[in-house]
Structure formats: structure tokens, C-alpha cells
């Protein structure tokens, strides 16, 4: 009874999520006239972009059966570094580069510690989360750094423009999110790095025995995750025109939730960027829609939690089903 597995099944999570997203949009549009307006859709896309940016890096990491708990703190650190750099007279472009570098370094450090000492990623990134947050607090003495317009008139304005300016009908964060998502999808599906990320999650030993330098690839993958978190830090800082040491609070959990909702397996080996993107949009639509429906925050948390649970259970049952069928 060995049939060729229908390849479209690989997209099961995405299709199910896509349908749910569509139904949620239809439902919310019919229930509130304020939901399906361009202004509100732009809000949702703008808000989801942040999650997409972080979700792409997190997807790669989770594909390797890893996790990165430090990204929320990296959001804060990279923002703070940019802010301090700008306030000390460094041009905006260089300041942004400094912030992105700081975040990427935290990511690379995660990857290095995890692979060099073979320590569980959960523990390592839990540690670096605290270290990173601590550094952000120390740099700022706990106080938000505000205002990049006054010090460097046009450069500063250019910076805040990155957060909430407009390019035609869209905002820069949306374009960054779209770009990162495309880049992530290419990496995951069409490069050795992505292929190895998925294989690492499936069977790390097999890669090692095939002569692949698994450690180097892990360092790069965590580095990418740090970079995307730093990019999210740029967006948050630019949007609020403020760098807060407590920014990015619990972002890691939002990102993990989106990635898992998108059908990526926490056990590694299976994952997709498109799933993550759809999941981010679904979460964005739900949070926004439930607010528009004036549903209290308690119920919003409940609803979003339940949807994540159902999605994960569905995906796991399906995956088991696929595997067990082959053994029959």
C-alpha cells in the first residue's frame, strides 16, 4: 500500500492557516464596518511586519530543533545601541549598522556557545537573554532614550521615517518584512544553509557523518536570528522615536508562537517561511479584529492561545499520520 505521497500535503499547515485567515477576515469584515478599511489593513500589515521580521530568523532556528529566547532582549539592545550612537553624533547610517551588528553578534554568540560546548539552546539563550537585557539597561541606566530628530535634523527625521513614513501606500516596515520573508524563504528552500538547517533538526549526526561542518552552520543560523531581531529593533525604535531598554518584552514568545502556528515543528526538521508569514498575519488580524470588536484583552489572550494549541495539535497529528502510514 505504498502510494506516492501527494506533495501538496507539505503545504497542509499553510493551506489550513490561509483558509482560517481568510475566514477570519470575512467574519470580522461582516461584523464590523471599521475592520476592512485600507487604514486598518495597513495597521495590521504594519504591525505584523515586525513579527514577520523576527519570525523569519526564529523559523530558521526552530528548524534546527533549536530555540532563541534572546530576541526580545536583542530588539532592545540593538535599539539602544542605535540611539546611543545617534546621540553621540554618529551618522544615522553608521548608527543603524552599529545596532544591527550588536544584535547579530548576540546571535553569533548564541550559536557559538550552543555548538562549541554542545549546550541546550534553551539554556544558552535564556542566559544571553538576561545578559543582553542587562547590557541594554546598563547602557541606558534604565531610562528610555528619546528623540532622534532634534540632534540631527534631517538624518534624524530620516530615521524616524523608517518606522512610520510612507512609500506610496505602504510603510518601510512592511517592505522590510516582505524583503526579509522572501530572503528567508530563499535561504530555507534554495540554499545549502536552509537545507542543512532542516537536516540539522532531523538528524544532526547524519550531517556530521557526511562531513558537514554542522557547528559553523549553527553559528550562522543563530547569527541570522540575531540579525532579524536587531532589524526588528530598528523598526521599533524608529516607529516610537524612542529606544527603551525594556522594549521587546516577551517578543520571543510572540515569535515562537507565530513560527509554531505556521507549522514549523519545535522538534526541528520541518518548517516553512510562508507558514510563519501567514501565521503572523493571522495573529495580527485576530489581535486587531478582536480589539475592533471591543473584546476585552482577557478573551483575546484566551482565543489566541487556543488557536495556537489547536494548530499545533492538528499539525502533529497529521505528521504522525503521514509517518505511520509508511510503516504499515
Amino acid at each position: 500500500m505504498k502510494k506516492i505521497i501527494d506533495k501538496s500535503q507539505d503545504y497542509f499547515s499553510q493551506i489550513l492557516l490561509g483558509i482560517t485567515l481568510l475566514l477570519a477576515i470575512i467574519l470580522l469584515s461582516s461584523l464590523s464596518p471599521h475592520f476592512f478599511t485600507w487604514g486598518n489593513i495597513r495597521n495590521i500589515l504594519d504591525q505584523s511586519a515586525l513579527l514577520v521580521i523576527m519570525g523569519v530568523g526564529m523559523t530558521l532556528v526552530i528548524c534546527t530543533a533549536g530555540i532563541d529566547l534572546s530576541i526580545g532582549a536583542v530588539v532592545a539592545l540593538s535599539g539602544v545601541c542605535m540611539a546611543v550612537a545617534m546621540h553621540s553624533g554618529i551618522p544615522v547610517e553608521i548608527a543603524i549598522l552599529i545596532g544591527l551588528t550588536a544584535g547579530t553578534l548576540v546571535g553569533l554568540m548564541n550559536g557559538f556557545i550552543i555548538s562549541a560546548f554542545n549546550i541546550n539552546p534553551f539554556i544558552v539563550t535564556l542566559g544571553t537573554m538576561s545578559v543582553t537585557r542587562g547590557i541594554a539597561l546598563i547602557i541606558t541606566a534604565g531610562i528610555p532614550i528619546y528623540g532622534f530628530g532634534a540632534a540631527f535634523s534631517w538624518l534624524g527625521k530620516a530615521f524616524t521615517w523608517w518606522g512610520s513614513g510612507h512609500i506610496g501606500p505602504v510603510n518601510p516596515p512592511m517592505l522590510i518584512g516582505l524583503g526579509i520573508a522572501l530572503l528567508g524563504a530563499i535561504i530555507l528552500n534554495y540554499t545549502k544553509l536552509g537545507s542543512y538547517a532542516l537536516a540539522l533538526g532531523g538528524n544532526e549526526e547524519a550531517l556530521h557523518r557526511s562531513g558537514i561542518a554542522t557547528k559553523n552552520y549553527k553559528v550562522i543560523i543563530y547569527g541570522i536570528c540575531g540579525f532579524t531581531a536587531a532589524l526588528a529593533g530598528l523598526v521599533v525604535t524608529a516607529r516610537l522615536n524612542t529606544a527603551e531598554p525594556l522594549a521587546g518584552y516577551m517578543f520571543e514568545l510572540d515569535a515562537i508562537a507565530a513560527v509554531v502556528l505556521g507549522g514549523t515543528d519545535m522538534k526541528g526538521g520541518r518548517g516553512s517561511i510562508s507558514g510563519t508569514v501567514i501565521a503572523c498575519l493571522l495573529l495580527g488580524v485576530l489581535r486587531n479584529g478582536l480589539t475592533i470588536m471591543s473584546i476585552p484583552s482577557y478573551y483575546q489572550q484566551l482565543a489566541i492561545g487556543l488557536i495556537i494549541l489547536i494548530a499545533v495539535i492538528t499539525s502533529e497529528l497529521r505528521f504522525r499520520n503521514t509517518l505511520s502510514r509508511s510503516n504499515a
Partner: protein, 258 residues
């Protein structure tokens, strides 16, 4: 590299020694490996077979000794170097990534790329099909996940990968363990074919019947030493059993193999 050493061997192991604390896993093993020959490595549990092939595949480093490949002398190998030197290992179970498809597994570590980074999936699928067909491994779709395949098919993929890695020396670690009669048959035929095609094949196995059927040469290990180097055609089960156990008069060989 296919020219081999001046003495006709492709690989020579000289005085390979490995200790794990007080346990002397290998005590100065010398072994020469020839192209076109199926060499069986037999011995009781803990005799040092696995350690020896791990040294060859670069998974562990010996304490002393030399590995001579193609007139170059190495004190130790690593998996990447071993593969580069043409030594590929077909592991019983650890070698494949269940969640990846056949093509990704076949090309693991040597994926073809375009423009320096873009995976050439089309080429991978095409070559995978050709390779599997040439080995008579019956897999309809190279896009299937390996986790969905049978044990025999998986073993076939592992062999195909060893060949795809450019291996001249292919090591099998218990290839027929945990396999049904039909699947074992496929694998044994495959191993014999490889020998005839000019590969150097090393088979570690407990099953003396299989060993006698497929090998040209049988090396027996005991307590970290190579105690016998026999030509299969000139030996018999009782002699092999004698070397393995050090006890004479074993009549039923299946007792040893079970």
C-alpha cells in the same frame, strides 16, 4: 587516487591503537584494503570492529598508528576528510535524515549549486533517479521523505549516497541487522555488485552465513587484535568460529550469530 598504493592496496592501516581509559579497544591493528574486494570484518561484541571502522570513517581519532591512503600518511581522519579521501560509510541507522526527501539525503554535504548558492533541485532529483536506478533500488519519487520508506529502501539510499560522495572504499556497518529476508537479499546482492564493480567494500557483520556468501576475504578480530586474515574460499565456518571464540568444536554457527 584509484591507482592505489604501490603494493596494490588502496588503504593501509599501520599499528592502529585506541584506548578508552583502561579498555584497550585496538591494540596495534595492521590491515590492508584492496580495490575490487569485499572484506568482511567479524568478531565478538567488543572485539574492536566498530572502533576500527570508526577510525577509518574519521568518527574517532586513534591514539597511535598511521592511516596510509594513496601514499599519504595520516595520523587521524575526520568525517569530511575521510569522505574526501574516498572512504564512505553506510551506517545501520544514523546516517539518514528522516524528515528530508530522498534527493536531499543523497546529496547531503555535496549539493550541486548554481550561481554559487542556489540549490539545483532539478539536477538533484534527476541524478537521484538515475543513481537509484543503476543500483536497482526501487523508489518511485525522489521527493518522498526518507522517513516514509522501508528499511531496504533506506539502506539503498545510504549506499547510493556513499557512491555519490565519490567513495572508492565503502564501509557497511551491520547492513542486514533488523531487516527481513527479502530486504537482506537485496542488500547482499548490492554489496556483491559493488565488489565486482571495483569498489573496496568492508562489511562488519555478525551473520557468518552472509559473510561467507558475499566476501572474498574475512578478517577476524578479538580483544582489539586482528587474529586472522582468511581467504573466504579456503576457510570454513568452524575455523572462523575458532578464531572468534578461541574455543574449538562449535557445531552450530547460528548460535554465534544470534
Amino acid at each position: 587516487m584509484s591507482k592505489g598504493l604501490s603494493n596494490g592496496y588502496i588503504i593501509s592501516l599501520k599499528n592502529i591503537t585506541k584506548n578508552y581509559g583502561n579498555i584497550r579497544a585496538l591494540q596495534g591493528v595492521n590491515l590492508d584494503i584492496r580495490l575490487g574486494e569485499v572484506l568482511a570484518l567479524v568478531g565478538d561484541n567488543g572485539a574492536g570492529k566498530s572502533t576500527l571502522i570508526k577510525v577509518l570513517s574519521g568518527a574517532i581519532n586513534p591514539d597511535h598508528g598511521e592511516i596510509i591512503v594513496d601514499n599519504n600518511v595520516y595520523g587521524k581522519l575526520n568525517p569530511a576528510l575521510a569522505i574526501k579521501l574516498g572512504i564512505s560509510t553506510v551506517y545501520q541507522d544514523l546516517g539518514l535524515v528522516d524528515t528530508r526527501n530522498v534527493a536531499a539525503n543523497l546529496f547531503l554535504g555535496r549539493e550541486p549549486v548554481k550561481f554559487g548558492f542556489w540549490l539545483d533541485k532539478k539536477l538533484m532529483a534527476k541524478k537521484s533517479g538515475q543513481l537509484l536506478k543503476s543500483l536497482n533500488v526501487n523508489i518511485l519519487d525522489p521527493n518522498r521523505m526518507v522517513g516514509q520508506l522501508s528499511g531496504g529502501q533506506r539502506q539503498g539510499i545510504a549506499v547510493a549516497r556513499a557512491i555519490n560522495q565519490g567513495g572508492q572504499v565503502i564501509i557497511f556497518d551491520e547492513p542486514t541487522a533488523a531487516m527481513g529476508v527479502n530486504e537482506s537479499r537485496q542488500i547482499l546482492d548490492l554489496i556483491k555488485d559493488l565488489g565486482q564493480q571495483g569498489y573496496a567494500v568492508i562489511v562488519v557483520s555478525h551473520n557468518l552465513n552472509h559473510v561467507l556468501e558475499i566476501s572474498e576475504r574475512i578478517c577476524v578480530m578479538k580483544q582489539g587484535n586482528l587474529v586472522a586474515d582468511l581467504v573466504t574460499a579456503e576457510t570454513n565456518p568452524s575455523e572462523i568460529a575458532h578464531y572468534i571464540t578461541g574455543v574449538q568444536g562449535f557445531k552450530n554457527l547460528q548460535e554465534i550469530s544470534s
